[in-house]
Symmetry: C2
Subunit: 437 residues, 2 copies
Amino acid sequence: MSTVDLRLDARWVIPIVPEGALEHHSVLIEGGRIAAVMPTLHADGIEAREHISLPSHALLPGLVNAHTHGAMTLLRGIADDIPLKPWLEDHIWPREARFLAPDFVHDGSLLAAAEMIRGGVTCCNDMYFFPDAAARAYSESGMRAMLALPVVDFPTPYAADADGCLQAGLAARDLWKHEPRLAFSLAPHAPYTVGDASWSKVVVYARQLELPIQTHLLEAPDERAQSVARYGIGPLQRLHALGATGPGFIAIHAIHIDQADIDLLATHACHVVHCPTSNLKLANGIAPVTALQARSVSIALGSDGAASNNRLDVFGEARLASLLAKTATGDAGALPAPSVLRMATLNGAAALGLEREIGSLERGKQADLIAVDLGGWQHAPCYDVVSHLIYVIGRDQVCDVWVRGERVLDSGELTRLNAHDLLARARFWQERLERQP
Amino acid sequence: MSTVDLRLDARWVIPIVPEGALEHHSVLIEGGRIAAVMPTLHADGIEAREHISLPSHALLPGLVNAHTHGAMTLLRGIADDIPLKPWLEDHIWPREARFLAPDFVHDGSLLAAAEMIRGGVTCCNDMYFFPDAAARAYSESGMRAMLALPVVDFPTPYAADADGCLQAGLAARDLWKHEPRLAFSLAPHAPYTVGDASWSKVVVYARQLELPIQTHLLEAPDERAQSVARYGIGPLQRLHALGATGPGFIAIHAIHIDQADIDLLATHACHVVHCPTSNLKLANGIAPVTALQARSVSIALGSDGAASNNRLDVFGEARLASLLAKTATGDAGALPAPSVLRMATLNGAAALGLEREIGSLERGKQADLIAVDLGGWQHAPCYDVVSHLIYVIGRDQVCDVWVRGERVLDSGELTRLNAHDLLARARFWQERLERQP
C-alpha cells in the first residue's frame, strides 16, 4: 500500500467496529474500498492521489435508512395530522391511483435519494411500486439502495395482482442486478394485504434467488386481532408457518409485537426495522426496542416515507429512538448514543444482508463514508463526539459523502444531481397533485 | 404611514393571529414595532428605508423558548445516557460547585443566546444562577429574555440560602430592569428544594413587584409521594395553599400531574411549559398535554438546558410535542401543526406575560420576527407551509432574525456576536470542565 486513491484525515474516525471514536485518524481508500484505518501520524508516509483534511470533522460509515418509500417525497406534507384510515383512503390512495406511474416513481425517488445523500444516508431500503423506475433514480444519484419488489393481492396501477407484481419485480431485478450499488428484496406489503398463496410464492422465490423478505408487521394496534379472526393465529406466527422467517426476514415497524413474537424473531435471527417518527406521527405507538435488544434481535432504523414523517432523516430517527427508549423503560441509560449509532449503520447493513460490505469502517469494506462538521460554535463544547452525533448535531451538519469511494456530496453540494432540476421535478408534480382529489 | 423603517416582502407570512398562512404578504416595521401586515401588492406604494425580499421564505413571529438554563451550554453532552440521580450528583452538581461563577454564566448564556438566535428563538425564559451575568450576555446578544431570579434553600456558590438568593436576584433586577429586551420572574427551583417560608416570601415579592413565579413541577415520578409524606398534600396543592398560583404562575414540566392538578391549573389560569425532549431524555415521561389543552390551559414549549436535551431548538420541541401527543392519545390528529406553532410562539409569550408585546405578527407588537427559507429542493414539494415548518424544516433553515426591528441574524450570520469569540469561550471552559470531577 504505497499509493492509494484517497486519504481522509479526520479529527475523529468513528468506525462502529470497534465502538467509540478514534482521534486524529485517517481512512485510506483504494478501488472503492477501505484499505486501512490508522492514526494520521502513521499515514503520513502513504501517497494518495487525493488527500482531504477534515480537521474539525467526524468521519463515520454512511447511515442506512432501512425502511422508506422513496417516491412518496412527492406526497410530503400533502395530508398531515390525519388519522391513518382517512389519510390512506381519502388522501394517499386516490392520488396514487391517479398518478402512480414510472415517471412519478423516478422523480420522487430522485428527490428522496438527493435528500438522503444530503443528510448522510448512503444506503436505503426502498419499498414502493415500479422498482425499475426507482432503480434508475438511485443509479443516477450514486447512492446505494436495496429495492423492494412489492407484492399485493389487489390491483394497482403497477400490477393486476400478486403474480403480476412478482413478474414486474423480477423483470426489474433482471434489468438491474449487475449494478453494483443496487440490491433487491421481496416485499409482500403486509400480512393483511397478501394471502397465503401469494406469501408461499414469495417464500419460494426468496429461497431460489436468495433474496430477503420484508413486510410491514404489526404496525397498527388491530392487526393481531384481524389476523386471529381470519387465520386463527397472529400475523407473525402465520408468516412463520408459511416459511417466511429466518435471517433474511425483515419485520418493519413491529410495534404491537408480544413476547411470543419477540421469542420467534430472536430464535430465527430475524431483523426488525424501527421507525420511531412515523410510528408516533400515525399514532401507532412505540415499538418495544429494549425488549427486542434484550433478546439480541438486531434492530435497524427507518424513516418510512416522506408522507408520514416527513423527513428522510436517519440522524433524527436515531436521536428519537434513544429518547423514546429512555422514557418507555424509565431508564435514562437505555439505548445510549453508541447503540443507536450502531443501529443507524451496521444494524441497517445487517438487516439488508450487506453487513460484510457496508455499515462500518473496516478494511476491505466498501468506502461508504460521511463527514460531519463539528467545528462550529453551535456544537462547542464537545466532550463526547458520539454523543454529539446523536444528541447535538442534525443532518444539516453533514458536509461530505462518499459511496464506493466516489464523492456524491462535496461540501454540502450534490455532485451528480442538479438542484434546479430537482426543484423543477418537484414543482411539476406539485402542480398536478394539488389539483387532486 | 408614508415611510417606514423596514419592509419585508415574504412568500408566506404566518401571523399566528389569525391562524394560517398569508401568501405574498408584507410586514412593515416602524420604530421597532409592526406597523402593518398587508398583501405585498398593497405595500407597493409605501416607502421603506430598508426593503428586503424573501421570495421563497416564511416570515413568522420569533419562537419563544419558555424554559431553559442557558449557561448549561457549557455542560452540553458532558454526561449523557445517565439516570437523573447520578447525572446530577456525580456529574452536574460537582462541576457546578466548582465552576459556578458570573463568568461561567455569562459565557454559557452567550453561547445559548447565539444558538437560540441562529435557530429562530427571539425570546427565552432563562432560569439559572447569577442572573446579572446572564442579563449581560442576553443584552449583548440582542435577543429578548426573561431572567429568573432563582431561589433554593440550600447553599450554592451563588448564595447561602433563599434570602441570599432573593437579595442577589432583586439586585440584578434593579440593575437591568430598564433594559427593554429583558424581563424578570421569581423562580423557586422546585417544591421539594424550597420550604414554605421561602415560598411565602417569593409570593409576597411576586405580588409587590408584579413578577411571574415559575418552578419545576412534578418532573420526576416520585415528587408527589415525597410531598404527601412531608407536607400531607401534593406539591401543586401546597403551592396553591401558599398563594403561588394564578395567571402569573408557570408550571414547568408538569409531567406527573393528575386530574385535580389539571383542574387547579385551569381554574387559576396558570401556564404550563412542556419540555418534551428533556422529559424523554431523563426518562421522566410524557406530559398530558392534550388533557391540559382540553381544559384550555395555555401550554408553551421549552428546551430545558443543553445538559439534558442537548439542543436549544424550539422547532425541534414543537415537532416532538406534536408527534408525542399523537401516540399518547392514539389520535393522529392531536396537536396539529398550527397548534404547536402557536405553543412555540404566542403561548410562550403568554407564559411570560408578554402576549401584548410579542408572539404574533399584529399591528403594534414588537417586531420580533424570523424568516425561514423553504426554497430548497429538500423542502419541495410544499403543499402546506405551516405543516412544513413543523414536520419538514429544521432550525438550520432559519436565515434571518429580527428583535425589536433589529436584524440579529443576517443570512445565517450573527450580527452582534463573533463566531471566533464564541468558539474561544467554549474551548476555554471545556478545557477546565473536562478535568473535573
